[in-house]
Symmetry: C2
Subunit: 773 residues, 2 copies
C-alpha cells in the first residue's frame, strides 16, 4: 500500500482544488424535493437559494461538508421572503454550513427543535452558522409540550442577527447541549440577536438561553454570548441559565426582562460589559445571580432594578455543603469588579437562598447554609438618587467577602456598611436612555488592583482602562457614542419586530347578539367593541384570540349578556394569546355554564382576563382553568359576583410539576356573594425554589354567604402560591373553617381584614411539598 502513496497524494491535492472550482455553484429550489436534491449534490461553495414564498411542512436536513473559505450556503431568495411554516424544521450536520434569511412562523417543530446543529447523535454540525433568521410564536399546542427553538450541538457553531420571540411552551428558547466530547469545548457564538418578548410560562423550563445542564456541568463549554438584546424575556426566573464552564456573556442588554443571568452550574464564567435595565417598579426584573466558583463579573451596569432574592440586582447565593451536582454549589473565588448600580434596591444580596430555617421540611441535602467565600468586590459604584437602607442585604454572613475601593452615594441615608465601601458625593451623567455614568466624585477613589485586574483593560463602552481608569463600569470619562439600544445592532436588518401589530385598534358598535358575535370573530388586535344597552342572548362561546375590549357604549346603561350555551361551555372562550378587557356589563349564565374558560387543550400560549365594573351571576363558575392553561393576569376590579357555584378556579395542576395556572390574580374592590365553593382556588404544586410565582392580591373586597360547599373548608385557596396579599377585605358569614392558610416562609401577608363568622386566617411557616427536580 505504501507504494501508491504518491498517487494518493496527487489525488488528494486534486480533490483539494476541486471545491474552489465548485465555489461558484448556485442552485435555486422551489420545492422540498428540489431542496433535498440540491443538498445531496452540494459541495464546498454551493449556494442553495430557496424561492420566496411559503414553505409548509418542510423538514430541511442540511447535511454536507463545506470549507471555511467555501461553505455550503442555504439562503432565502429575498431575506425574509421565505416563510417556513407548519410542521417544519431545519437541522444541520457536517462542516461549514450557513443558513441565511429564513422566517419561521405559523407552525411548530415536528421534532425536538426547530433549528438543530445535528441530525442525529452521531451526526453533528461544526463551524456552521444560522444568521438573519426569525422564529416567531412557533409554539407547540400546549405549554407542557417540550421543545427547543435552537439546539446547539457540535463545536464552533454560530447564531447571529436572528430575532426569536414569543415562545410560550415548555423548554428553553435556545439550549446548548454538551453531551459527548464532540460537543464539549464548543466555542459556539450567539451574537447580535434580538430575543423578543417571551411571556411568563409559570414554573420552570422557560429560559431564553440555557448552556449545558447539571449532568454535563463539569464539561468545558466556552460558549460566547455577545451583543444580544434580551427584550422582555419573562419566561421564568432565569433569562440565561449557564450550566457549564468558561462561558462568556459580554456586551448584552437585558431590557425589562423578568429574570436574571444565572451561573446556575459550572465554573469560571465571565459576565462583562452587560447592561440590565429595569423600570424602577417591577420587582421581577432581575440582574445577575451567582452560584459556584471562579466567576468574574466586571464592567456591568444595572439600572432601576427592584428584584428580591432570586431576582436581586446581584445575588450571591448560599450553597449546599457537598452539594449534589444538580443543586447549589457554594460561591467561591468570585470577583465582582468595576460594575455600577444606579437606583437599584438592595443591589448586593448575599447568601440568597439560605434556608436553614426550613430544616424541618427539607432534607439536609437541600439546606443552603454555605455563604460565599474567597470572593472580592472591588472598584464598584453604587448610586441611589433616593437612599437605600440596605445596599448590602445580608441574608447570611458576608465574612467570606473582601471589599476594596467600592463607592456609594446613598444621599446620606444610613446603612450597615463595610470596610471597603466608602461614601462619596457622585455626579451622574445620562449618556443614553437609562444609562448613567459616574463622572465627578469617583476620581478621588484609588482603583484597587486585584488578581488579574490587568485583564480588565476595557470599560463598559470599550474605552481603555490604562492611564485613565476609575472605579465603576466606566473609566471615568464620558463615552463618545453609545448605541446600546440601536436596533441595527440586533436581529436581521430585514425584520422589524412587532411591525404587524402596530396599528391602533378600531372601535365597533354593536346592538344585537349577532353583531356582537360577528364583531368578536372579526376583531383585530386592540379593537374595541362597544355594546348598546339592552340584552344579548348568546348560545355560542365568544372566542377571544387577541387583545379585545368589550364594554358598554354608555357606562350608565349596562348591557346584559345572557349566556345559554351548552353545559361546560364558557360565554367567553379564552384562546392562546387572547386578552379580554370586559367592562360595564352584566353577565349572566346558566347553572351548567361558565363565564370564562380557556381551551381544554391546545393552549399554546397564555391569556389575559381583565374585568371591571361588572356583575356576574348564575354560572357554574366564573373562571375555570384547565390543566395546561396559563393566564398571565386575571384581574377583577369592582366586580360583583353572586349566586354562582364556583368563583375563580385556578387549581387544575394535578401532577405537582410546578406548572400552575396563573402568574397573577388580582381582585380589587369587589364583592362575592353566595358563591358555593372555590371563591378563589389558586394552587401551585411541587417544591421548586427557583419559581417565584404566582401572585395573589385581594384587596378591598367583601365575601359573604359563600363557601358552604367547599370541600377544603377554605374560602380562598392559596396552596403553594409564593406571593399573597390579603388586605382591607371583609369576610362575613361564610361557612368555612378558614378564610385562608398562608405560607409564612414565603411572601404571604394579611392585614386589616375584617373576619366575622368565617373561620380564621391561618399562617403556616413551612409548607411540606414534594421536590420537583
Amino acid at each position: 500500500m505504501t507504494r501508491s502513496l504518491p498517487l494518493l497524494a496527487a489525488l488528494a491535492t486534486l480533490a483539494a482544488l476541486l471545491p474552489a472550482a465548485g465555489a461558484q455553484t448556485t442552485v435555486r429550489v422551489a420545492t422540498a424535493a428540489e431542496l433535498d436534491a440540491a443538498i445531496a449534490g452540494a459541495g464546498p461553495g454551493t449556494e442553495i437559494v430557496m424561492a420566496d414564498g411559503e414553505w409548509s411542512d418542510v423538514r430541511i436536513r442540511l447535511v454536507g461538508t463545506g470549507t471555511a473559505e467555501a461553505p455550503i450556503t442555504l439562503r432565502a431568495e429575498t431575506p425574509g421572503g421565505v416563510v417556513v411554516r407548519g410542521a417544519s424544521d431545519l437541522w444541520l450536520a457536517g462542516e461549514h454550513l450557513v443558513v441565511d434569511g429564513l422566517h419561521f412562523r405559523d407552525g411548530a417543530a415536528p421534532g425536538d427543535a426547530v433549528i438543530q446543529f445535528a441530525v442525529s447523535d452521531d451526526s453533528l454540525a461544526n463551524h456552521s452558522r444560522v444568521t438573519n433568521c426569525v422564529i416567531e410564536g412557533y409554539n407547540q399546542p400546549q405549554r407542557d409540550q417540550t421543545d427547543l427553538w435552537v439546539r446547539f450541538r457540535g463545536r464552533h457553531n454560530q447564531l447571529d442577527r436572528c430575532y426569536l420571540a414569543g415562545k410560550s411552551n415548555r423548554g428553553p428558547t435556545i439550549r446548548v447541549d454538551l453531551e459527548g466530547t464532540p460537543s464539549a469545548f464548543n466555542y459556539h457564538r450567539i451574537t447580535n440577536n434580538h430575543f423578543g418578548p417571551r411571556p411568563p410560562k409559570g414554573g420552570p423550563s422557560a429560559e431564553t438561553l440555557q448552556i449545558g445542564d447539571s449532568s454535563t456541568s463539569m464539561s468545558p463549554s466556552h460558549t460566547l454570548v455577545e451583543d444580544n438584546l434580551f427584550d422582555r424575556c419573562d419566561g421564568e426566573v432565569e433569562v440565561i441559565s449557564s450550566k457549564s464552564n468558561f462561558n462568556e456573556f459580554r456586551g448584552n442588554v437585558f431590557y425589562h426582562s423578568e429574570g436574571s443571568l444565572v451561573t446556575r452550574h459550572g465554573a469560571y464564567v465571565t459576565v462583562d460589559g452587560n447592561v440590565f435595565i429595569g423600570d424602577g417598579a417591577n420587582p421581577y426584573f432581575g440582574g445577575v445571580r451567582l452560584i459556584g466558583t471562579g466567576h468574574r463579573v466586571t464592567n456591568n451596569y444595572f439600572f432601576g432594578l427592584r428584584g428580591e432574592e432570586f431576582r436581586a440586582p446581584l445575588a450571591l447565593m448560599n450553597g449546599i455543603y457537598r452539594s449534589s451536582i444538580n443543586r447549589y454549589f457554594q460561591v467561591t473565588d468570585v470577583t465582582v469588579a468595576h460594575n455600577t448600580w444606579v437606583d437599584t434596591e438592595s443591589p448586593w444580596q448575599i447568601g440568597v437562598g439560605s434556608n436553614v430555617d426550613q430544616a424541618e421540611v427539607l432534607p439536609p441535602s437541600e439546606i443552603r447554609d454555605q455563604p460565599p467565600v474567597r470572593t472580592l468586590f472591588a472598584n464598584n459604584v453604587l448610586y441611589n438618587s433616593e437612599g437605600d437602607g440596605t445596599p448590602i442585604l445580608r441574608v447570611d454572613s458576608i465574612d467570606g467577602i473582601e471589599f476594596r475601593s467600592n463607592v456609594i452615594d446613598n444621599q446620606g441615608v444610613p446603612f450597615e456598611g463595610v470596610e471597603g465601601l466608602v461614601e462619596r458625593d457622585l455626579t451622574m451623567t445620562e449618556v443614553v436612555d437609562d444609562v448613567w455614568v459616574a463622572m465627578d466624585g469617583v476620581a478621588a477613589v484609588p482603583v484597587h488592583h486585584g488578581f488579574e485586574f490587568d485583564q480588565i483593560d476595557r470599560d463598559l463602552f470599550g474605552q481603555p482602562r490604562g492611564e485613565q481608569n476609575a472605579v465603576g463600569a466606566t473609566n471615568g470619562t464620558a463615552p463618545e457614542a453609545v448605541d446600546l439600544f440601536d436596533p441595527s445592532r440586533y436581529g436581521p436588518a430585514w425584520f422589524r419586530p412587532g411591525a404587524e401589530a402596530d396599528g391602533p385598534g378600531q372601535t365597533h358598535a354593536v346592538r344585537t347578539p349577532d353583531e356582537l358575535a360577528r364583531a368578536v370573530a372579526e376583531a383585530g388586535e386592540g379593537d374595541v367593541i362597544e355594546l348598546a344597552g339592552g340584552a344579548y342572548e348568546i348560545v355560542t362561546p365568544l372566542a377571544i384570540d387577541q387583545e379585545v375590549t368589550v364594554r358598554a357604549a354608555d357606562p350608565g346603561d349596562r348591557p346584559v349578556i345572557r349566556y345559554a350555551g351548552g353545559a361546560g361551555t364558557p360565554a367567553f372562550e379564552m384562546n392562546p394569546g387572547g386578552h379580554l378587557r370586559l367592562a360595564n356589563v352584566v353577565l349572566h349564565g346558566g347553572a351548567e355554564t361558565l363565564a370564562f374558560a380557556p381551551l381544554r387543550s391546545g393552549m399554546s400560549s397564555l391569556y389575559t382576563l381583565e374585568v371591571e365594573d361588572a356583575e356576574i351571576s348564575g354560572f357554574d363558575a366564573v373562571l375555570r382553568a384547565y390543566k395546561h392553561s396559563f393566564a398571565d393576569l386575571v384581574r377583577l376590579e369592582r366586580v360583583r359576583v353572586r349566586d354562582v357555584a364556583n368563583g375563580l378556579e385556578l387549581a387544575a395542576e394535578d401532577d405537582d410539576r410546578g406548572d400552575y395556572n396563573a402568574e397573577r390574580v388580582v381582585v380589587l374592590d369587589s364583592r362575592f356573594e353566595t358563591v358555593g365553593s372555590n371563591v378563589i382556588d389558586y394552587y401551585r404544586g411541587g417544591y421548586d425554589e427557583s419559581t417565584v410565582g404566582g401572585t395573589l392580591v385581594v384587596r378591598g373586597t367583601t365575601v359573604t354567604g359563600s363557601g358552604a360547599d367547599d370541600a377544603d373548608d377554605v374560602l380562598l385557596g392559596t396552596y403553594g402560591i409564593i406571593n399573597v396579599d390579603l388586605s382591607g377585605n371583609t369576610f362575613r358569614d361564610n361557612e368555612v373553617e378558614r378564610v385562608a392558610v398562608l405560607w409564612g416562609a414565603k411572601n404571604n401577608t394579611h392585614a386589616d381584614n375584617t373576619v366575622e363568622r368565617s373561620g380564621e386566617i391561618v399562617v403556616e411557616q413551612n409548607l411540606p411539598q414534594r421536590l420537583v427536580y
Copy 2:
C-alpha cells in the same frame, strides 16, 4: 499625579535595568541568620549558596521576586551536601525562585508541609522550582498526624529530579491545592522525580500525589505529571488521586505500586504513555481507575497486574445518580485507546464499585448504580500468555461502551466477548524488562479512527503514528532504544536510593542475656542474631528498630527466652521501621507482660513481625497494638501459643476513622491453646469504600480451650476487615458463641474448617458501618 508619569517611567526603566546587573550576585551563607539576611537582600539573579553540612531546625522562607531570565536561586554548596534536619521546612513566595540540591532527613515538618509554594494564604509562589532535592523518612511521630511533604499553591511551579521516599504518616506526599483563583489554571510541572517506597499506611490519606480536592474539583488545574518513577508507592489504594480538571499524566512508570492512578474528581484528564508494572502475583498492584467525564487513556502499557475492583488493571467505576461533589460522578465521554495489557487478570473491569446490593445499609446518595456511558474503547491490545476467563469483567452493564478495533490473544480460552474485540494470534517481543510489544498479528487489524484520534500522534515510546500505525500502545514497530527504567531519568543525579542500606547483614552469636541485649542494640540493618541453646532471662524490652533476625543457632536446641520485665512491657518492643524475624525459640513471660508490642506513641512508621517455629506462653498478650501503631505484616507460622490471657490484639482503633492496626495478619499451621480471650482481635472501624484492607489469613491452625473470657463471645474478631480467609482449621472446645462473624459482601471466605463445641462461623452479608467521609 499624571504629570509625574514621565519621571516614573524613567525610574521604572532604570529599575528594570538594575536586576540584570544583580544577576552576578552570589552569597554564601552558613547560618540561618545569614540565610535570612541573604534572602532579604536578594533580587533577580541572586544566588544564595548554603554551606555544606547539617542545618537543623531551620525554617527557610525564600521570599523574593526574580525574573525568568534571572531567578533567585537557593542551592546547596555541593548537591546533597546540605542536610536539612530536625524541625525544618522550606516555604517559598514570590516569582521565579529556584531551590537546588537540599537533602531533608532525620526530622519532620514543624508546620503543615516540608516544602510549600506559599508562605501564607496571601503570599504564594509562582514560576518557581524545586529541583535535585531529597526528602527521606521526614515523618511526624505518629501516623495520624497529618502533613504534606510538598504542597503546591500558586501557578507555574515545578518539582523535578527529586527523590521522595518513606512517608508513613497521614497525608499525601505531594498535594496540589487549588483554593483561590491564583492557584487555579496552575500548569504546575512534576517531572523526572523518583517517588521511592511509601509503606502502606492502613486507611485513607496516604496518596503519593493528590491534585485538588473534592471541594475544588470544579477548578481547572492543568498540572502536568511527566516522566516520574513511582517505585513501590504502597501508601493506599490511590497512588495518584487526580481531583481537578485537565491534569495530564504522561510517560510515568508505576513499578510494583500497591495502588492506582485514579481520576477521583474532575474531568478531562489525560493519561498517556504510562507504564504499570506488576509481578503477576501481588493482587494490590493497580493500574488506572476512572471516575467522571472526558478522560483520555491512551498509549499506556500494563503488565503483570492481578488487582481486583478498585485496583483493577483498568477500572471504570459506577457512578451515583446526581452524586454529591465528594462522591462518585458517572463515567461519561471517556476514550480508552491504543493501550496494551500483557498478562493482566481481568484487565477491563466495568462498573466497579456497584453496590446496589448494599441498599439496605447505605443511604440512596451512596448507591453507585450508574454504569459508564458515551465511552469508547478502541485500538487496544490484550495479550495473555495464559488465557483469561474474563478479560472484560462486567460488574454492571457495558451497554454504554462502544468497542472498536480491539484485539485479544487469549490462547483460545473462551470468554464472553463483545463486538469490537477480535481474537488474533499475536507475537510479543520484550523490548525492556517486563515491557512486551505486539509485533506480528496486529498489522492486519485496521485502526479505528475516533474523535480527535489524530491527536494520538505518538506511541508509548514517542514513535510517530503516521503512516506506520497499529492497534496497541506502540505503532507496530520495535522502538530503537527504550530506557523506561534508566535510573538517570529519575531523581537527583547525586543521590542513589537505598545506598546506605545495601550492605549485607552480619551474624552475631550470643550466649548470655547481656550479649543478646547488646547484640539487639548494636545490630545493623539485616543482621542475624543466633542464640546458643539455654535460658535467657530478660528484664528490659529488646527494642527492634530495623530488620533483625533472632534465631536459634541450632534449630534442634531451642533457646528459652524468659521475660520478667515490668507490667505492660513487651519482651520485644517494635519501634518504627522495626522488622523482627524470630525463629526456633521458646518465649515465656510473666502474666502482666507482653511478648510483642509497638510503642504506645511515636509510631512514626510501620513495623513487621514474623515468628516461626516458636512457642509462646505465660504472657498477658502475644501482641498488643496501640492506637496509632500499624504493622505491615504480622505472621505466625508453626507457632504454639498456650496459656496466655490474650492472643493477637489488633483492635486499638477507637474513633472509626479507618486507621486499622495491621495490613496483613497471617497465621499458618499454628496452635492456640488456653488463650483466655482475643485469640485474634482484628478490627477496622468506619466505612470507607476505597480502603481495601486489611487481610487476615488463618490456615491449618488449631484453636482449643480458648475464648472463655472473651467479652464478645467471638473467637476470631474480624469486624470491618475486607479480606478474611479461614480454611483448613480446627476449632475445638472453645467457650464462645461464634468462631467468627464474616462479612459476606466483602472478600471474606471460610472453607474446610472443623468446628466442634466452639459455636459457629457466621456470615453476615451487609455490615452496618459509620461513613468515614
